[in-house]
Symmetry: C2
Subunit: 233 residues, 2 copies
DNA sequence: TAGTGGTCTAGACCACCGG
DNA sequence: CGGTGGTCTAGACCACTAT
């Protein structure tokens, strides 16, 4: 039997979590005040605070001033998604990555993109279509619009062999980002680019970013058949 | 001009974040030691610590003991997804929710489910097919397997009009959860249940949970056409 | 208004890891 | 081994809100 003199906040968190898992406190129940838990476990109140913040961030408990802490009644499943640069994602699988620009040019943004940016009038932006390739096979087709008002420098970058995303991510931090995931039926065009058949179901990720209130870029990443987004809690 | 005597950790975080946004420190650059920042800004080191932890959690900086803090070279887009109970999700849109069990019974798990659970041999589990309905229209078809070894109580619950998920989420906390998102082509069966047409592209969410090493449940949620998962950073 | 969580501080010590 | 981030403590005050 080991005697631990100093409790870490993780110990405290695990203890409280265990109370919940073994139904000492069930959904909707009110937990003791931080101070009482601190005294009971023999640590400082701030250590309990730290543990509680973690449980709260994980969506396990809900805390309110004066109201105390209660075990969440309707737990949500809260997951953290990391969406890496595509090149890194491919390389992490041990595959060979390559990139190919399909088209590049200024054009009026379509209505859908204007809506994403929350713009009424149509404006000209830089459109880049590109293909990410994993082990010689099409991996992700990306259809991107870049606001050259916000990012004029992009016009002087050679995007024929390097992804616009890599440049943006290193040089243009964003302050806001909208993410969308959904499924689409492959068009003839999609099918040709991704080397699959029309009507195949494809997983799509859309990302739109701003710096302050200024739109930076909006990208639709159409993945090849079989693509899965995975995360673990 | 207001004079703020006490800096909150959010102020400190925003200050440091601003340094990064305006390229005072760019990707790969090393930031000053916490203590120096604390002195410069006029707050305690622990306040800087709190701010830095937040930036680190957001994937903006990377911290190493002795190595100091640096602005991440390959920023990932890190998003937090909340997956609520379907009933709550529907109600939050202001729609009327209803639930309908399609089938229920013990059966041998198929290979795919065994793989999700990491099981070799096939075992019998409780399979429940059900339909979540939003404003009289099919919303999500769920195909669920529940391990009755881990959750024997489920057999005495009436699942004809209430979702198994609601009961599980309130009564069986999990310690581990795998999440998967992808697209599928609607089968004849899918199409019939979701009132759509075969070959339509459907967005699927799969969730598999364990308590300790014991499998609890694995569910495939096939959403109706047009469903989108959305999050914001 | 009183009780509870949220935060800040100053100081101490620990754990990790680069030079 | 020394320097950096990570954590704990004790105490104080603040901010929100249930009662």
């Amino acid at each position: 039997m080991t005697l631990q003199l100093r409790l870490s906040w993780k110990d405290v968190r695990d203890t409280i979590h265990a109370w919940i898992l073994e139904s000492t406190y069930g959904p909707g129940d009110k937990l003791p005040r931080d101070e009482d838990i601190a005294e009971q476990l023999g640590c400082a109140r701030s250590t309990v605070q730290r543990a509680m913040r973690n449980l709260s961030d994980s969506g396990i408990v809900e805390r309110k001033r004066k109201g105390g802490t209660q075990v969440r009644l309707d737990p949500v499943t809260r997951a953290t998604l990391d969406i890496p640069i595509t090149r890194k994602e491919v390389e992490a699988k041990g595959s060979a990555y390559s990139y190919q620009r399909i088209s590049e040019g200024m054009a009026d943004i379509p209505l859908g993109i204007a809506a994403r940016f929350g713009l009424g009038a149509s404006v000209k932006m830089l459109r880049i279509e590109a293909l990410h390739i994993s082990d010689q096979r099409p991996y992700i087709y990306e259809d991107r619009w870049i606001n050259t008002e916000t990012v004029p420098e992009i016009l002087s970058i050679d995007l024929s062999s390097e992804s616009a995303n890599e440049w943006l991510v290193r040089n243009k931090p964003f302050s806001r980002c909208d993410l969308r995931f959904y499924a689409v039926k492959a068009t003839e065009y999609n099918a040709k680019i991704l080397a699959t058949t029309p009507n195949e179901a494809l997983f799509v990720m859309e990302r739109t970013t701003w710096i302050g209130t200024q739109p930076i870029t909006s990208v639709k990443a159409v993945t090849s058949p079989g693509y899965q987004l995975f995360t673990q809690i």
